[in-house]
Subunit: 303 residues, 2 copies
């Protein structure tokens, strides 16, 4: 598939046809800890033009509030927490949408870092595990057992640098012997903890629970359609006027095309123009651009 | 499938037709830490009758030598280490059969407990990881990376109560960025660390590495055919004269029927006669018996 047009007349090709932009963050807004040049101005122009924006990340280690601090730190102080779709938020939103009790009668066991618990706190769902279980060891001596809370109704599995056997066994018991639903924030095989190398991602933590339960999780992050369904139900948005913008073909662009959205690949992250236009690539965005500053490039050029 | 004959004339139905018995251990030889009554005498009679015997376990936490101590402790001092097929031994035997270098030019990274390393020591293959990495933490600070030994040619994943993110990341790098083969001792979802409950098994550790590599492992323990191929090549044994004896339909009996062996289910472990003969059961051993003492029960009865 080598026939993808480069965005050449953004106003008529994209801006007139789109009300909502969903931006992947890494490789689109920032690279690692550095904001991509010109992004602050571009987001301001989109906002002035009345566009709604959401910023999505499969990283579950921070909550929306935690990500807001990252946006603030990069100078993007106009981005409110409500526009940030971390997979930690997506997990909490999924429970809310699926009528998980918020009266305290059911709890969530968390494999993951602080972000998931912070999001659950905001919607009043009690939770166990997470960082509190980082140093726990089950009683594996003769006759030993790990006692689990019988009220656990869901296990959320997110990226956890402190994953251990205690957490795995707790989750196993809740799912195999209790009636807990198995929820994964995402299935990313690798993640970018540091720029120096690729790191084992949440695919590892989810794989561990798959391997001892034989069950498949409900996935709430990209490329699951749950976020789009949430936007439709919460804001009444029309899919055909949403555009997914990302730097990865097999997650971002696929997420867009699979869900009936417009899609734009930007070359500011991991995908090269050569890879996009290669005959070996079968994933086709509607357009591609060097970066999202291209939305206003022609305007700037003619001013 | 409800038509399995109970062993009624062991000499003509089984003993005359079988040269080699492969015994699953838990539920056949012992239950937890207790030898099943009469087993020592039965094994002695089989040995006197010229039968060869192997004792298999998917548990990789001990080496053959480690298991020998368990047999000794239960009074089965006639069982030599060579008759014990732990999955730790199976992993080392697989490397040996597949001509993994034993000159030190290639190493193995281990997720697992002491058994795997002890078996690798016996065949002269250097190894890293395992218990030595229980307390390690990778440098995940800005620009941080985990350096891996470029000579790692295989990653063996066995049950590991001290699995951690360092080990997962080490294995991920060896498999994704190096050329290490991914080997699993077994895929058991749950295991019996204590009698008080089921515990997450090596399916968890293997699942973690599947989830960050997207690769499927070579499995060396039950129900992989590798052990049978090893017995054929090492001892020139005839499959049709080997009988698999176990207490589980979906692992032991299936292992036998899938590999062209005779199979005997014993009721001394987890499977009831009702479950075996239920119309819902589709896995059919050649015979079943209360326990392996039935091999000589009629003889005893007539003496």
């Amino acid at each position: 598939m080598a026939n993808v047009p480069k965005l050449s007349d953004p106003q008529s090709e994209l801006l007139d046809k789109v009300d909502v932009f969903i931006f992947d963050c890494d490789g689109v807004i920032w690279r690692g800890d550095s904001l991509i040049d010109g992004i602050a101005e571009t987001l301001e122009r989109l906002r002035k033009a009345g566009k709604k924006m959401f910023f999505v990340t499969n990283n579950s280690t921070k909550s929306r509030a935690g990500y807001k601090k990252k946006f603030d730190g990069l100078g993007l102080t106009d981005v409110p927490a409500e526009e940030i779709f971390s997979s930690s938020f997506a997990a909490a939103a999924y429970l809310e949408q699926s009528n998980f009790p918020t009266d305290g009668s059911k709890k969530v066991y968390v494999i993951g870092e602080v972000g998931i618990g912070e999001e659950l706190d905001l919607i009043g769902i009690p939770h166990l595990g997470g960082p509190a279980d980082n140093d726990k060891v089950a009683n594996m001596g003769s006759g030993g057992r790990l006692e689990v809370d019988p009220d656990v109704g869901a296990v959320i599995v997110g990226f956890d640098r402190d994953v251990n056997y205690y957490k795995i066994q707790y989750a196993q018991l809740c799912i195999n012997e209790g009636d807990a639903e198995f929820i994964a924030t995402n299935l990313d095989a690798v993640t970018h903890l540091t720029d120096a190398q690729e790191w084992a991602g949440n695919g590892s933590m989810v794989g561990a629970i798959r391997g001892c339960t034989g069950q498949e999780p409900t996935v709430v992050g990209k490329p699951s359609p749950l976020m789009i369904e949430y936007l439709e139900s919460k804001y009444g948005m029309d899919r055909s006027r949403i555009c997914m913008v990302g730097d990865r073909l097999d997650t971002d662009v696929l997420f867009g095309t699979d869900n009936g959205l417009k899609s734009l690949l930007v070359l500011s992250g991991v995908t090269s123009e050569e890879k996009l236009l290669s005959p070996d690539n079968s994933i086709t965005p509607d357009f591609y651009a060097d970066d999202i500053n291209a939305f206003f490039a022609s305007e700037t050029a003619t001013v």
